[in-house]
Amino acid sequence: MSGAVQQAPEVVGGPPGQPSRGPLRALRDAGALLVRQREATVFVVDVLLIVYFGFISSVGRGAFFTHTNRITVTQLAAPIIILALGEVMLLICGEIDLSVGFIYQLSPFIMYFLITDYHVPGLLAILIALLSGPVIGWFNGFLTVALGLPSFIATLGTGFIINGIVLTTSNAQQQDIPPEVKGIGHWIGQYAWAEITFAVILTAIFHVLLTRTRWGLHTVATGGNQLGAREAGVSVARIKYGNFMLTGLLGSFVGLQIAFQISIIDPTSGGYTPMFYAVAAAVIGGTAMLGGSGTIIGAFLGGILLAVLTNGFSVIGISANPLPIIFGGAILLAMIANVQLTRLRDRGRA
């Protein structure tokens, strides 16, 4: 059990000393697990949704489990998940990045202009495009750490600025993928399973980063007790800069993935929507916005949940219009659970 995962106190499991066995006990243990492990709750919801949509479409004319649709779901989920990984790290250390969707918008254009206008070799152009994310992330860190702006406002500002730069330089025109990078583009985002494969690998890496490394521990310490962390000699500034830069890197990577996936560099892709989906995935997965706690696996499952819901509604032929109501409800439920569990835990201490 990692320290990054919020643990509920021993409030579950029925009255002590009362012996229970068999299925009742199993049920109780499952209940305890659900309360204690936020990831487990979201996982169960994910499975139920998939079974539900699969069942509805199997008795009707829907096509939830077809090959094409499976790929569609993963391609919906992957960008949400990858952006959410960065947001989780930032939320844990008490910050947020609203600009990541615009980093996503910018990076394929950087690649495009480098190749077509400056004749930079394809691979190098991709590398520089990827690096644009950490550079913007550093700037976000600078605004937040050095100038003391709340990251909510700082990244709101940088987001608008990047958006303006993209629209100005591209004349709001779509561009085709330059032929030089079409080959490698397959591996980054065009192959059917490329995106979700990256999402899974990155989730694993970030999970280890958060729960098994000094970086993760110090990120939790920074968000949990900034003064105390600093007292212990943790470089709070470095942690924040680093997590903004990591988030930026993920943003520029997702931008490239989407461009290759749809074979077009679109100045209207990205923006606030994927960022908010990412934050929603993080929150639904169990990351509190209060700092100090959060889970990577939860964000992954939260991303799946949002993708399955979005896709499932359209596949079984229900209007997608009420979908945001469900999203909003899920976010509120998740947040209520976060806050109330924390309160319960604090009461358990007192």
Binding site: M1, G224, A229, A232, D346
Partner: protein
């Protein structure tokens, strides 16, 4: 890690055995004088109770001794050598550590993670969690802290006394030679408080030098060797605890209140 108070051979202990000596310290914040002229000494292996009213300058004095801020004038000696603290880190590297009631620990981390915070053993890139758990447990055992069920507990789930003992244990763990305990019994029940006082006694027996800053001197009196009273930015009272009593201290405080009351009435009339 287990040798807590290895002496620096380059620094001979002063003849009188003072591990820390503060001479004629003053501190002014603009027009406000927080400390007028404070001289204080701490013997090796001694527990000094620093008591005083709110606003008497206790916090200011702690901040100077722990390197958080420099004094306006005055000198500090460590093991007989004059020293100027450049920062909290500098003072800590010399073995002086403050334990604050609630500032130090990260609620969301476990006991062992807190104890190793920023000194985590790593087999790159991974933390050596097993080693951390084991060493944290051994360290707590060696200090006689037995109220914890497990070092895997989140600090948020601990009681005030348990948190305080973890904070103290962490300082000892990081090779502190002089501990400043800031209000170690604040917001704590009697049983919990007794646990902390026992811990202080154990540390003293192991040779640690300790300053306890306490508003409520009655609670800490049983474990202190000497009492200093800070009043109006000066040490106005310095006695061995065997030569004084809680009653005498109370008498002084009551007298102070009486004086303050009389002044109020005089200025009102």
């Amino acid at each position: 890690m287990t040798e807590q108070r290895q002496q620096d051979p380059a620094v001979p202990p002063s003849a009188d055995g003072d591990v820390l000596r503060v001479e004629h310290i003053s501190k002014k914040y603009g027009a406000v004088t927080a400390l007028v002229d404070v001289s204080l000494r701490l013997e090796r292996g001694e527990v000094l109770g620093l008591i005083g009213d709110n606003g008497a300058g206790k916090s200011t004095l702690i901040k100077i001794i722990c390197g958080f801020q420099p004094p306006t004038s005055g000198r500090i000696f460590l093991d007989g050598q004059q020293i100027t603290f450049k920062s909290v880190d500098h003072a800590r590297s010399l073995g002086i550590d403050v334990v604050y009631q609630d500032l130090a620990l990260v609620n969301q981390l476990t006991v062992y993670e807190n104890m190793f915070l920023n000194r985590e053993p790593v087999r790159w890139p991974l933390l050596r969690k097993k080693q951390m758990r084991k060493e944290a447990q051994e360290h707590l055992d060696s200090m006689g802290i037995k109220t914890l069920k497990s070092v895997d507990l989140q600090v948020a789930s601990l009681s005030g006394g348990q948190r305080q003992s973890i904070a103290v244990a962490r300082s000892v763990f990081s090779d502190a030679k002089i501990l400043l305990l800031d209000e170690p019994l604040a917001a704590m029940g009697v049983k919990e408080g007794a646990m902390i006082l026992d811990l202080v006694r154990d540390l003293k027996n192991q040779g640690m030098s300790i300053i306890i800053i306490a508003h409520n001197y009655g609670q800490v009196f049983p474990v202190v060797d000497r009492v200093n009273l800070l009043r109006g930015g000066q040490i106005t009272f310095d006695k061995k605890s065997s030569d004084t009593s809680v009653e005498e201290l109370t008498e002084m405080v009551v007298a102070e209140y009486r004086k303050a009351l009389e002044e109020r009435h005089r200025s009102a009339s």
